[in-house]
Amino acid sequence: MLKIEDLRVSIGDKEVLRGINLHISEGETFILFGPNGSGKTSLLMTLMGFSGYNVTGGRILFRGQDITRMPMYERARLGIGMSFQRPPTIRGLKTRHLVRMCARGREVDPEVLAGKVNFTDFLERDINAGFSGGEIKRSELLQLMAQKPSFVLFDEPESGVDLENMQLIGKVVRRMLDGEVDVPPGACVKPLKCKLRTSGLIITHTGYILDYINADRGQVLYQGHLCCEARPRDILEHIRSYGYQECIKCLNAPVPGQIVL
C-alpha cells in the first residue's frame, strides 16, 4: 500500500530523514517509535505533503503511484488521512461544517459520527478553538471518520489525553483500523474485514495506544534512520528497560539487525 524508498528530507539546511525504507501493506498497522527530534513527525508531514519538508532524495509510492511531489489535497483524495497533533484554530469554521467538507460530497450525518466520539456538543464550535488535548483527538477522529481514508497517519494519539478519553480514543482508532463491521448473523467476518481494513502509521511515545489496537509491526526511528524492526510490544518493553541507547549500537553495527531480546 505504502512504499518508501531511500527517502531523504531536509527542513532548511538540516537533513531530518536520512534514507528511509519502509513498506506498509494493505490493512497493516505500523508503529513508529523514537525519541524526541528523531524525525518521526517529519516523516508523517512528508508523507502528507506539507510545505517546508523538502524531499532531497528517494520516493514515496502509494498503491504503486509515485506521490513524492503530489500536492497534499491529491494525496488526501487518494485516501491518505492524518490526525494532527496540534491543529490550528480556524475562526468562524464550525466543526459541523468541516466534518461535511471532509466527506467531500458523500452523505454523512455529523450528529451520528460525533456521537461515536462523544463530540455532539462541539459541532457548533469553531474548529479547535479552545479544545483540550482530548477534544482535539476526538475532533481529529471525527474528521477522519467523515473522510474515510484507506491509510491513516496518527501523530501521538495519546498525547495530552486523560485516561477516560484514552479508552474512547483507543476504541475508535481500533474500529477505524480494523474496519467497522456490522456482520449479519451467519455471515463470515473474515472476508469483510479484509476488505474494510485500513492501514495505519502511528507514532507513539508512551505506547498506551498499543493496549487498544492490533499493531502488526514496529520500528524505531533514530536520528533520521529507521532501525530495530520487531513486534511493537517487544520494542516498547525494550525501550522501557534500556531507553533508546541500544539503537545507537544497532545503527553502528555493520548490518542493522533485530533487537536481541
Binding site: M48, F50, S51, P71, M72, Y73, A76, R77, G81, M82, F84, P87, P88, I90, R91, G92, L93, L98, M101, C102, R104, D126, Q143, Q147
Partner: protein, 385 residues
Amino acid sequence: MKDVKLSDYTFSGIEHGEITDLRTLDAHDKNRILYAGVDLDAGDGSALFMHMDQSTVHCETRDPGLELLDIKVAMKRYDGLPEYAWKLVDRDKDEFTRTVADNTHGGYFIRTKPGVKISKPVQSCLFLKADGAGQNVHNIVIVEEGSEVHIMTGCSTAHGGTHAAHLGITEYYVKKGGKLTFTMIHNWGENASVRPRSVGVVEEGGVFQSNYVLLNAVGTLQMYPAIHLNGRGGIARFNSVIVTPEGSNVDCGNRVIMNAPDTRCEIISRAITTGGVNIARGHIAGNAAPCRGHLECKGLILGGGQMLAVPELDVSVEGGDLSHEAAVGKIAQDEIEYLMARGMDEAEATSTIVRGFLNVDIMGLEGPLAKAIQEQVEKIDANAM
C-alpha cells in the same frame, strides 16, 4: 481619504412619484437591492420603506405595533420632532450634516409602541438611481420602553458605476429596556461617495446591536457611528464585515461611550482588502464604573491594498475595564494546509477560511440574502486568488 466635492452632484430636481408595489421595480434594480439585503419580491417585513434618489417612494406599515413615516411627514405631524431631530447629530458638524439639514430629501421615522416586540424586521432601502444625484437622507429611530425591533437597511446604487453621493443622518433612541437590532448592508460602486453620520443613545437596560456588511467596492466612504450608553446596564454591540477591492477607499469605525455603571460593549470588525484602502477605527470610552468593553479588529490583506487599524481605549474612571485586539496579516499557511490535508484544494481551503474569517453567519441572515452574501464572498476569493 478621498474628498467629496459636493458641487459635483445635483441636490435637487431628481424626484420620483410613489411606487405602490415595489415588486414592479425592474429586475436589475431589485437584484441590486437584494445584494444590499432587502428582498423586495418576498416583501415579508413588518414594514417596508424605500427612498429613491431624492424622494421617498414607498412607506408601508403592516404591524400595528410600529409607526413608519417619511421623515418629512413626521416632522410636520409632530411639530418638528423637537425632542429627537438633530438632538444627537450636530447639524453644523460638517458640510454633509449642513447639506442634509438645509435640504432633507426624505428618510424614515420609525417608532415602536412601548412594550411591543416586533417579530419581523422592518425593511428599508435607500437607492441611488440617477447619475450625478446627491441624496440627503435623515432617519430617526425610536425604540420605546421595553420594545424590540430589527431594522434591515439596504443601501445601493442602480449600477456598479453610478456616479452619486449619499449623505445620511441617523439618530437612534433606545429607551429603557428596549432593544434595537440594526443591520445595514451597503452595495455601492467605484463612483459612489458615501457620508453617513449616525449617533444613538441607549437608556437603562437597553440594547443596541449593529451589523454592518460592505462587500463591494465604494469610491469613498467615511463613517464613525457612535452610541452613548447613558443608562445603567446598557449594552452596545457592533459587528462589521468590510471588504475593500481595488478602487475602494473606506474609513470606517464604531464608537461607544459608556456613561453609566454596569454598561458593556463589544466592537468586532473583520476586514479584507484585495487592493483597496481600509482605515478601521474603533473607540471605546469608559466614564462610569463598573463598565466593560472589548474592541476587536482583524484584517487580512489578500493580494494587495492597505489597512490601517486604529483602536482607541479611553478610561476616565477606576473600574473601567477595556481591552482591544488588533491584527492585520495574511491567511496562515498552517490553516490552509490543515484543510488541504482533508482533501480541499488551495482555492477551496482559502475560501473556507475567508468565509469563517468574515463570520457573516453571526448576523443571522437567511434565505436569498444569505445566498447573495455567500456569492459575494466567493467572488472575493476569486478576485484574490
